[in-house]
Symmetry: C2
Subunit: 359 residues, 2 copies
Amino acid sequence: MISALGYASKNAHSHLHRWEFERDDPKANEVVIDVLFCGVCHSDIHQVKNEWGNSVYPCLPGHEIVGRVSRIGAQVSRYKEGDLVGVGCMIDSCRQCDACRSGEQNYCQGPNSWLATYNGPMKPAKEAGQNMYGRDNTFGGYSNVVVVPEDFVLRIPEGLDPAAAAPILCAGVTTFSPMRHWEVKAGDKVGVVGLGGLGHMALKLAKALGAKVTVFTSTKEKIKEAKTLGADEAYLEDDEKALEPLEASFDFIISTIPQKHDVNPFIALLKHDRTLAIVGALEEMKGVNNMDTAMLRRSVAGSLIGSIDETQEVLDFCAQHQVAPEIEIIDIKDINDAMKKVEKGEVRFRYVIDMATLS
Amino acid sequence: MISALGYASKNAHSHLHRWEFERDDPKANEVVIDVLFCGVCHSDIHQVKNEWGNSVYPCLPGHEIVGRVSRIGAQVSRYKEGDLVGVGCMIDSCRQCDACRSGEQNYCQGPNSWLATYNGPMKPAKEAGQNMYGRDNTFGGYSNVVVVPEDFVLRIPEGLDPAAAAPILCAGVTTFSPMRHWEVKAGDKVGVVGLGGLGHMALKLAKALGAKVTVFTSTKEKIKEAKTLGADEAYLEDDEKALEPLEASFDFIISTIPQKHDVNPFIALLKHDRTLAIVGALEEMKGVNNMDTAMLRRSVAGSLIGSIDETQEVLDFCAQHQVAPEIEIIDIKDINDAMKKVEKGEVRFRYVIDMATLS
C-alpha cells in the first residue's frame, strides 16, 4: 500500500478536509505519479455536493492532474521514472466494447462504463448489477499521489507549462473533442456560450483551429475579457438586438454553461444542418423549440470529455499552437474558498492547485 | 381568374365552411390541377386553429394533393393535360439560396423561406419585412382546383392508388427524408414514436428500407395494429420495464407525436453517436437530459418535410415497394368531424377527402 494524503469531503454538505488514506500498489501495467498540479473543474463541485446524484464518499476530486512518474509496474513500457505526465477524467475502461475498440473510451459501453479518476465507475454497481473494476470509489488528483494504468496516462509535451497544462486534461479535451467531431475548420464561424473554464478553452482552441469565434456571456465584464482572449465578437447572451442579425450564420456552437440553461436563442444562430453541442451541463435542459431545429434541420447534441487519443492530441496541439489556459495557482488550503468563487463565476479562468502546498 | 370552391375557416375558432373564391390564372410556368383527393394532416388542424401562431385567414388547408392536370402555362414542359400529379407542402421557394440551389427547397433561406401550399410564406412579411412572393396567403387542397409552378408538381407513378398516394406527399416524405438523411439502411434498428398518420408511414417506409422497426405508442390497441402493419416489436411508451433492455440499441429513432412530449425515454435507447429526429411537433419540447445525450454523444434533431426530389423519390419508392398509407376516404362535408377524430387519435391512419364530394 502507498500512504497518500489529499483533500476530501465526507458527505454532500461537508467542506473538503485534509484526509490521509492508502492507495493500492501499482499493478504491472500501472504508473505511480507524484502530483504536481491539479485543476479545479466545476464538475468537482457538482460531485462534492452530489448535484448529479451519483457521488460516493469520501469524495476526493480532481481530474486535471499533472505530475511526475515516480515508479512503474513491471510491464509498463511507455513511461519511465521522472516523466512529466497527465491524467484526465478517466483511469480505465472496459477495453472490449465497440467504443473502446475504436479508441473512444469516453463512450465506453462496458457494464460499468469507464472508471472515473474519482467517484468510481460511471455506471456504479447499484445501477449495473456488477462492478468490473472491483472498486466502488476512486480518489482523484487533490492528493499527493495517484496510481493509474499506463494506457490512461498522457504525456505532457515540452513547451507546456506544467501548471497550465492541467486544465487541458478536462476543459481542453472536453471542448476540443466536439470541435474535432463536428469538424470545425479554418474560416468556420464558431459560437462559444459561457466564458468560464471550459468556455475560455473553447475560445482559444477554436481560434487556434482558424475559426472566427463569437462569445456569448451573461457577464458584462467578460465581453471585454473575451476580446482580450482573442474572440472576434462577444455579446451578452440576452442581447436580442445583437443576436438577431447573427441568425443562421454559425457553423458550430458549443455551450459550456455548467447548469441548466436555455439554448434556444443559440439554436436560431446555427446554419442549416449544423449542431449545437452541450458540454457544460449534465442535467435536464430547458426545452428546445422544435420549430427552430426543424426549420433548418439543426441538431442539439451532448458530448462528454474526449478519448485518450484526443486528450494527447489536444495537449500536443496546445504545445504546437502556444495555447494555454488562463490559470491562477492556489494553495490547497484555499480550495473551499476557490470552489465558492468558481460557483459565483469569479475565477479567471481556472484555479490550479499547487500540490506542493499539501503537506 | 379561375373560379374555385373549397372549405376554409374564417378564424381560429371557426369550423371549416364551404367557400367560393378565385385563383389567379396560371403563369407561363404554372400548372392548373383539378383536385381528386386531399389528405388530412394533423398540421392542418394546428394551422386552422392557429396553434403555431402563424395562421392567416381565411385558412384553406390541404397539402397532400392528388389531381389531374387540366391546363398548362405556355412554358410548362414536364406536364401535359391529363397527367396524374401531386402537390405537397410547398409550391415555391426563393430558388437562389444555398439550400434551394442544392435542391433542398424545404430548408429555403430566402427572405420569406418557402411558399407553403396554404397559409402563405413560411416567413411572412411581418417577420421578414418584405414579401418576395407577392401574396400573404395561399389556399390549399381542400378545394377543387390548385395552380402550382411545375417545379413543385410531382408525378404520381403508375401502380399507386391516387387516393392512397395523397398522404405520401406530406406524411410520407416527412418521415422518409430524415431516414435518408441519417442513412437508415437494411438491418438497422429503427424506433418509431407515435403511430398516427406520420408514424404509420415511418413504420412502413423503414420496413421497406430493410430496417427492424419498433413502435412506441401511448395507445394499447395500437400495439397490435403496429404488428399488423409490419412492426417487429411494439411497446407502450411508458412501459419502463420493456424499454430498459432496449437501452443503447437503436440506430435511429423518429418521433412523430404531433405535440409537446418527452423524448428522454427514447434518447436512452439510441446507440453511441446516433440521432433522434423530431418531425411531428413544431413547438417547445420537454427538456432533454444532457446526461443521456452526452454519455453517448447522441443528438436530438428536427427535420421538416423533405425536398421536391425526395418527394418524387418517396412516391417512386412507394410504387416500387408497394407501400401505401392506410386511408379512410371521407366526404368533405365530414371534414370537421374528421378533424376532431384526428385530434383524438381515432383515425386509422389517414383521412383522405374525395374531392368529387365537393360541389
